[in-house]
C-alpha cells in the first residue's frame, strides 16, 4: 500500500478527531506536503459538514425518560421478577420444544432405547445396546446445540427485546433441557419396567448420565461459542469416552478404571455424570440468584 493510500484511509477519522495522537501527527505531516491528499480532505470535510446539518434535525427535543424506565431505575429487579423472567423464557421455548425438534429428538432417542432394550434385554446383552448408547447423547447434543442457536431460539428474540440477565437465560435453558431429558427417560424406563424387561432404574441410570452431562455442557457452551463449537466440544468429549470404551472392550485398557462400567446402571461413571449435570444446574441456579440483576446482556457483550 502506498503512503497516500494509507493516509487516505484515515482522513475521515482525522476529521472526526478519533485518531490516536501518533497517527494524527503522521497524517498531518503527510498532508502538509501532499496536494492530492489535501484535495481529498477538502471533499471529506464538505461531506462531514453537510451530513450533520441533515441528520441532527432528527434528534429534535429529547423526551424525558419514561415513567416505566424511571420506576425500574429506582426499584431494581427483584428475585421474584427474575424468577418470572426465567419461567417466561421457559414458556416461550415451548415453540421449539413442540414443533421445533427438541422434544422430537429426545423422544426419538428414548424410543429407540426402549425398543432396543425390550427386544434384546438389558442385563443379558449390554453390548448390543452400545451403538444406541453412543447415539443417544449425540442426538441430544446436536438437537440442543443447533436448536438453541441465535437463529432458531425464540427465547433469544425475547432476550433482545426485553433486557434479560445472562444468568436467567442459562438457568431457564438448563432447567428446560435437563428436565425434558430426565422426564422422557423416566417415562421410557417406566414403560420397560411395566412390560417386565428391566428394573425401573436401568434405562434411566444408563442414559441419563451422558445425556444430562453433555446436554448441560452444550446448553452453556452454545451461549458463548455458537452451535458448531459447542456441539464439537461435547461430541469430542463423548468420542474420547467411546474410544476408551472400545479399547477396553478389546481388552486394551488405556486407563486404570473400567469404562465399560458406563454401560451398567450402577456404573460409577454414570453416577459422576449425574452429579456433574446436577452441579451444572445448581451453579445455574446460584448464578441466577446472585447475578439475576445487573449482568451483561448477551447481545451487548
Amino acid at each position: 500500500m502506498r503512503m497516500s493510500d494509507h493516509i487516505l484511509d484515515e482522513l475521515p477519522f482525522y476529521i472526526n478527531d478519533s485518531l490516536p495522537l501518533e497517527l494524527y501527527e503522521q497524517v498531518e505531516a503527510h498532508l502538509s506536503g501532499c496536494q492530492s491528499c489535501r484535495n481529498e480532505l477538502a471533499e471529506w470535510e464538505q461531506i462531514a459538514h453537510l451530513i450533520p446539518e441533515d441528520i441532527q434535525q432528527r434528534s429534535g427535543v429529547l423526551p424525558t425518560l419514561s415513567p416505566i424506565v424511571r420506576n425500574r431505575v429506582r426499584a431494581p429487579q427483584t428475585f421474584i421478577q427474575d424468577l418470572q423472567s426465567a419461567l417466561g423464557l421457559i414458556w416461550v421455548q415451548r415453540v421449539i420444544i413442540l414443533p421445533g425438534g427438541v422434544l422430537a429428538s429426545v423422544a426419538l432417542a428414548v424410543a429407540l432405547g426402549v425398543i432396543a432394550t425390550a427386544r434384546f434385554g438389558f442385563q443379558s446383552s449390554p453390548l448390543l445396546l452400545t451403538p444406541l448408547l453412543i447415539l443417544v447423547p449425540c442426538i441430544a447434543v446436536i438437537a440442543i446445540g443447533f436448536i438453541y442457536s441465535e437463529e432458531t431460539d425464540p427465547a433469544y428474540e425475547v432476550l433482545l427485546a426485553i433486557p434479560t440477565p445472562t444468568a436467567v437465560l442459562i438457568f431457564s435453558r438448563l432447567t428446560l433441557a435437563l428436565g425434558l431429558i430426565t422426564g422422557l427417560s423416566f417415562l421410557g424406563s417406566l414403560l420397560l419396567h411395566f412390560i417386565g424387561v428391566s428394573q425401573l432404574n436401568h434405562l434411566v441410570m444408563a442414559w441419563l448420565g451422558p445425556m444430562l452431562l453433555l446436554s448441560g455442557l452444550t446448553t452453556i457452551l452454545v451461549l458463548y461459542f455458537g452451535p458448531f463449537i459447542a456441539t464439537g466440544i461435547s461430541l469430542t468429549l463423548w468420542t474420547a469416552t467411546i474410544v476408551l470404551l472400545v479399547t477396553e472392550i478389546e481388552e486394551v485398557s488405556m486407563v486404570n478404571f473400567s469404562v465399560v462400567r458406563l454401560l451398567y446402571p450402577d456404573g460409577w461413571l454414570v453416577f459422576s455424570q449425574l452429579i456433574i449435570a446436577a452441579a451444572l444446574w445448581f451453579l445455574g441456579w446460584k448464578l441466577f440468584i446472585h447475578d439475576g440483576h445487573g449482568s451483561t446482556n448477551l447481545d451487548e457483550r
Binding site: L8, D9, E10, P12, F13, I15, N16, D17, S18, L19, P20, E22, L23, E43, W44, Q46, I47, A48, L50, I51, P52, E53, D54, I55, Q56, Q57, R58, S59, G60, V61, L62, P63, L65, S66, I68, V69, R70, R72, V73, R74, P76, Q77, E157, L160, A161, P163, P165, T166, H293, G294, S295, T296, N297, D299, E300, R301
Partner: protein
C-alpha cells in the same frame, strides 16, 4: 505504534476508566444511582435518538426504542467492563435494539420520518433556501445504500473511530473504510452535479 485491535482494546481498558468520564457514570448506574442515569441520558440521549430516528425512519418509534435502550443500560451497567468507550457501548445497544424493533414492529410503524418529526422546531423564512439545499442532500443521502449511510453517520455524527464503528456494526475495520469510500464516491458525483 501497535494499532492492532487487541492493542487498542487493551489501551482502552487501561485508559478508559480514568479518561472516559462516562465510565464513572456507568459504574454509578451499576450501583443504582438514578442521578447518574439521568446524567448519562442527558449526555447521550440526543445522539442515540438521532441514530435511532435514522435507523427506524420514525421519530416516535425511535423515542420508544430509546427507552428500551436506557432500560438495557440500567440492567447491563453491572456487566460493562470498559473494553470500549461508553459511547460505543451505547451505540451497540441502540443498534441491536433498532434491529430487533425493525424485526418485531415494522408493520406497526410504517410512517416515514417526515411524518414523525413533530418535535423538530419550525424553520424561519430565511432558512427556506437552506432547507432546499438540505432536501437535495437528503435526496442524495437517501440514495446511498443503508449500510453506507449508517457508516457515514457513525463517523461524522457520532464521531466514532474506525475500530469503534467496526465494533458497532460488527464488521471488520477494513470494511468500514471501504464503505466510507464508496459512499464518498457517490456523494462526490452528487456534489459535482450540484456544482
Amino acid at each position: 505504534m501497535d494499532y492492532s485491535k487487541e492493542a487498542v482494546k487493551t489501551n482502552w481498558r487501561m485508559a478508559n476508566k480514568t479518561a472516559d468520564p462516562d465510565f464513572a457514570l456507568v459504574r454509578a448506574i451499576a450501583h443504582g444511582d438514578a442521578r447518574a442515569m439521568d446524567k448519562l441520558y442527558t449526555r447521550h440521549g440526543p445522539g442515540l435518538l438521532a441514530y435511532l430516528s435514522s435507523r427506524l425512519g420514525n421519530r416516535q418509534w425511535a423515542e420508544e426504542v430509546l427507552q428500551e435502550v436506557m432500560l438495557a443500560v440500567w440492567q447491563g451497567a453491572g456487566g460493562f467492563r470498559g473494553d470500549s468507550r461508553v459511547r460505543t457501548w451505547l451505540m451497540i445497544i441502540a443498534r441491536n435494539r433498532a434491529i430487533n424493533a425493525l424485526k418485531r414492529d415494522k408493520s406497526l410503524h410504517d410512517k416515514p420520518l417526515e411524518d414523525g418529526t413533530g418535535s423538530i422546531p419550525a424553520q424561519s423564512d430565511a432558512g427556506l433556501e437552506h432547507n432546499a439545499q438540505l432536501d437535495e442532500l437528503r435526496s442524495a443521502l437517501s440514495k446511498l445504500p443503508d449500510e453506507q449511510r449508517e457508516t457515514l453517520e457513525l463517523v461524522f455524527i457520532h464521531g466514532l473511530s474506525n475500530l469503534e464503528t467496526a465494533a458497532v456494526l460488527n464488521i471488520p475495520a477494513g470494511t468500514v473504510k471501504s464503505r466510507l469510500f464508496r459512499a464518498k464516491a457517490r456523494l462526490r458525483e452528487w456534489l459535482e452535479e450540484k456544482e
